[in-house]
Amino acid sequence: MARKTVFLALANLLIPVAMMVFATGFFPYKPFMPGLATYEELGWRDTMGWKDVPAAPFDKVVFMVVDALRSDFVFGDQSGMRFVQSLIRDGTALPFTAHATSPTITMPRVKAITTGSIPSFLDVILNFAESDTSSTLATQDTWLAQLKAKQGGKLVMYGDDTWLKLFPDFFARADGTSSFFVSDFTEVDDNVTRHVPEELLNSDWNAMILHYLGLDHIGHKAGPRSPNMIPKQIEMDNMVRTIYDAIDNEDHHENTLFVLCGDHGMNDGGNHGGSAPGETSPALVFMSPKLKKITEFMDRKSPVDPKGEFEYYRKIEQNDIAPTLAGLMGFPVPRNNLGVFVEEFLHFWDDGADRIQLLLRNARQVKKIVEATHPGLSFSDEVQEMDCEKSLTDGETLACKWQRVVQIMSSVATIHPKMRFLHEAQETMSSTASNYDVSRLVLGTSLGFVSFILAFLALPPLTPITSTGIFYTATLILYSILMFASSYVEEEHNFWYWATSAWYFYLFIRASRKEWQSTFLFHPAIMLLFLHRIIRRWNQTGQKYAGAPDIVHSGIFSGSNSVVLWTLVGATYMDVTLRLSRHVARSIATFDDSTKAPADDDDATDANRFLATLAVLPLGATAFVFKLAFTALDAPELTAGINIGLLQWIVGVSLVDMARMVFGGLVLSGVWIAFADWKRARGRRGRKGRGDLAVALFDLLTVLLITQTKAHNIPLFLIFRTQFFFLSLLSLSPAALTLTTLLTTQTAFFALSNTNALSSLSLSTAYNGLSTYSPLPVATLLFLCNWAGPIYWTLAPLLLLGAHGTSPRNVAVGELDARDWIREEREHVLGLARKETQAEARRKGWTAWREHVARLTVGQAAAGTAVMGACAVMRAHLFVWSVFSPKFLYAGAWAVGWHLGVGGMGGAVVWGAGML
């Protein structure tokens, strides 16, 4: 026994270690070159005869980011941005499609735009742990830092506070807005716009950054074809007109460059994060009256038809913005830049030597990074012999290309070899394939496998082989195989829905082998299957059929039908409140002197129960009102049918205070019930309890989970509760309960509209009860918000395993008659008595729980190893960043947050509480 416990503990310790080791090999922390770049000695001074840095045409920049501004929102014929299109026709605007690399979320994109580097996938994690100082750009070389370092450099910033987090203390004047409620389409933008006219009159800044969030919010809320989309584009277009007119008319804006760009695009569902064409194709427009000089001989048609999907005009890389700004505004290219100066702008310089110098500086700076990545290769400025005919590695190809630059520079200087080297370097260095630390990938996967073996050794005896065991094994094997198929990672929910259906039907077959129920169609297992069918249609998730009809979006909950939703939500709250009141009634009875013997568990009087309901009602009501108020702000279409006067009264109350009241109430109730049950257990003097405290903790947790769930998903918890009831009728074996845990947790995860893509991560309730950002509470709330379903289904089967809170029948076995005519009945009752004793025996010790955890650990280790193996094998796959990497991050959250945190620690608390 002790040996198995040790194995199990080791296996669980190894899971996070394996994941960490794997992560360090999979997401190598890219070394970056510290310090600001300066103009350096360029070489070939004699042949080229250049003296100074080419004169910069611009000294100020207005950098306007419109979040999720997809290329077609500006360039397409459906666009509302007519003014920008007219500028393109006039030749005072130069349009591009700026390819954004995955992950297409704001923070890494801002990093790419400002540093010119390709942010690592690690930035995604840091995006959510925003306080991490290593993720700020304060110490990195960016065009902001360069502009600030210039003579009289002063920056101002209005809009998304991501910039303020990335660039602390950078801005002379700033007003950050956070995207707290996605339903806020206007205020986030008005908050930016109101500063602009005033700021345009100031001439003390040399960079003004504006970041509008409204368009992204509309996308998240209602997709790119939302009726709000065109009005928002027109609003943005008017902003562009205001700024452009100021630049055109004001003297101090004579040399101001105006850049309009999106940080990323959006897919047809209005989400972003992956690498679909819509998500990676934001618009990019450079505007200034001075651009006429270079657009003279260009095709200035607008609107135009896209070449590929969302590909309008020339497609450049998003990180080309940094070196281009450097050239146009006259500062050294930021050190970590991998972008290429945009060719069109070379025509600003009439002297060919200036053009060459610009590109050569860009190429030299990129060469330094290439040199650091491939230390063994020669990138010197000397002409030398190089064998460039054989098949070359990526590094060797670059060395050859650089050598070609050197050779050309020594004879006739043209711009083409530099361009070729730069583009090749950009492409090679952007693909991180060469950066994997394969030995760590192998080590991490092996450690995962070792953990699996250890967990396997910790299992209770496997013989006799049961069909449940076979089902469990088959599920794990099939899951492990499917993790290697990118489409099944995207559509993972289908696997779990499919396996769970089969499991419920299997339970039906198994139950009907023993005795035929007269309630054939209403057999608990059939009811489970029926409810499962509703659950799987609740939210459409996954990629392939994203946006397909589902229950939530069918319209039965929105608009004037929202009463239906709130009736169901109300029923869910009512149910859990009544459950809580029972626990409180028990606690009142414990301290009630009129009840003589507080040892019996069913001794609450009607007076106690009434008091308890009164005591719990405020908690339930506050939680419900909070949900209503939150939804009125977060998703107003779901509260459209609710009385407006009521809503106004509710919205007036502070959300933060209400959330704190709910959390506080839960903690207080928990402490009170625990104290009462502890006292009751002492008064019981050795007699056995029912494990009510475990049920109480579970019910309290349910309130917390519902608080962290979006309103339209709350009825799911009512369905879960009903499923829990039907499961309790089936008297499942411990192994069957473990399998049920696995299947229901996964099903619940996806049913609550999660996917394996980062775009579906829901942030909306991560700030409940918080007024400022602090990492640990936000991370905890974020986890609770996305894993609410799995948490519910991790703890619910524990209560079935120990039959917590069930009233024992206390059959007097010795008094049963052995005569033939009641033999059947006798055996039936004996069976019941046996089950009761078994469950109680389980509840009283840790063995059953340990075995349950051992089986879960086998599953978790197998799944984790499979995901790591898939990521390691597929590391050169086209979808590695869009499908496999996010899956690995999710697997990490499952392993650490769910398995160790909820299953291990949370489970131990609930199980321990049940022993009282």
Binding site: S467, S487, N494, I509, R510
Partner: protein, 242 residues
């Protein structure tokens, strides 16, 4: 409650169904799966192109094949007593004419089982399909036709050999009957249909991934495999759960 019912009506344990002891039966039982698969393979292209009319028209040849199979190879319900157990020299009391016994004893039960499986089993199977995730708001004809194909493959022979005895059907659902080629065919059909859902989410962008082509394909293959296994390797075995 049900236990007492069991005790009141003691039943002989169900035995595996043997195919009829004549050369036609022994031969046709092996030709039949080939014909069924060929029919499906022949129709596959048009089913993929336009499932509803193609699946509807395929029902007729499938019914004919299944009716022919049960009539030629299987003992109709109530006569399942194995012929070998007959004492040597014993004869049936009334030997009806060959044609008459053929029509009364085979053809009519075969058509009855066709009607029953088409009309009674199809709705049940369709509901089961929906419970397992078939679309409920769209593709109604697709799902019903899929249910009809499953019923004809799996249920028709079972009705022919077991009739409509409630207790036997309960045992059928509970997987308590001993395996034979009819029962194996049923289990194979449903397992195949269930496994047929696996390729649907893959991003291969093939036309045949659409509903319900993979399910029906899985069912046909499952039927043939199940029938073969049930008639040979697994014959007479019982499914054990624990």
């Amino acid at each position: 409650m049900s236990i007492t019912n069991l005790a009141a009506k003691p039943r002989p344990p169900a035995t595996a169904i043997d195919i009829l002891n004549n050369d036609t039966a022994r031969l046709y039982t092996h030709i039949h799966p080939i014909l069924v698969l060929s029919l499906y393979a022949f129709q596959f292209r048009s089913i993929v192109a336009d499932p509803v009319p193609a699946l509807t028209s395929t029902l007729i040849p499938l019914s004919i094949l299944q009716v022919a199979y049960v009539a030629l190879c299987l003992p109709p319900t109530g006569t399942a007593v194995p012929t070998e157990k007959k004492k040597p020299g014993e004869k049936k009391k009334q030997a009806p004419g060959k044609l008459e016994s053929g029509v009364n004893g085979k053809i009519i039960p075969a058509f009855l089982s066709l009607v029953l499986s088409a009309l009674a089993a199809t709705p049940l199977v369709t509901v089961t399909l929906i419970l397992f995730g078939a679309p409920i708001s769209t593709h109604h004809a697709h799902t019903v036709l899929c249910g009809a194909h499953l019923s004809l493959l799996a249920i028709l022979p079972l009705v022919f050999v077991h009739g409509v005895d409630g207790q036997t059907w309960r045992e059928t659902v509970a997987l308590l009957l001993p395996i034979d080629e009819v029962y194996g065919g049923m289990i194979g059909t449903f397992l195949g249909a269930w496994l047929g859902a696996v390729p649907i989410p893959l991003d291969w962008d093939r036309e045949w991934q659409k509903w319900p082509v993979t399910i029906v394909t899985g069912a046909y293959i499952g039927y043939v495999v199940g029938k073969l296994m049930g008639g040979t390797l697994l014959k007479g075995r019982k499914i054990m759960f624990d």
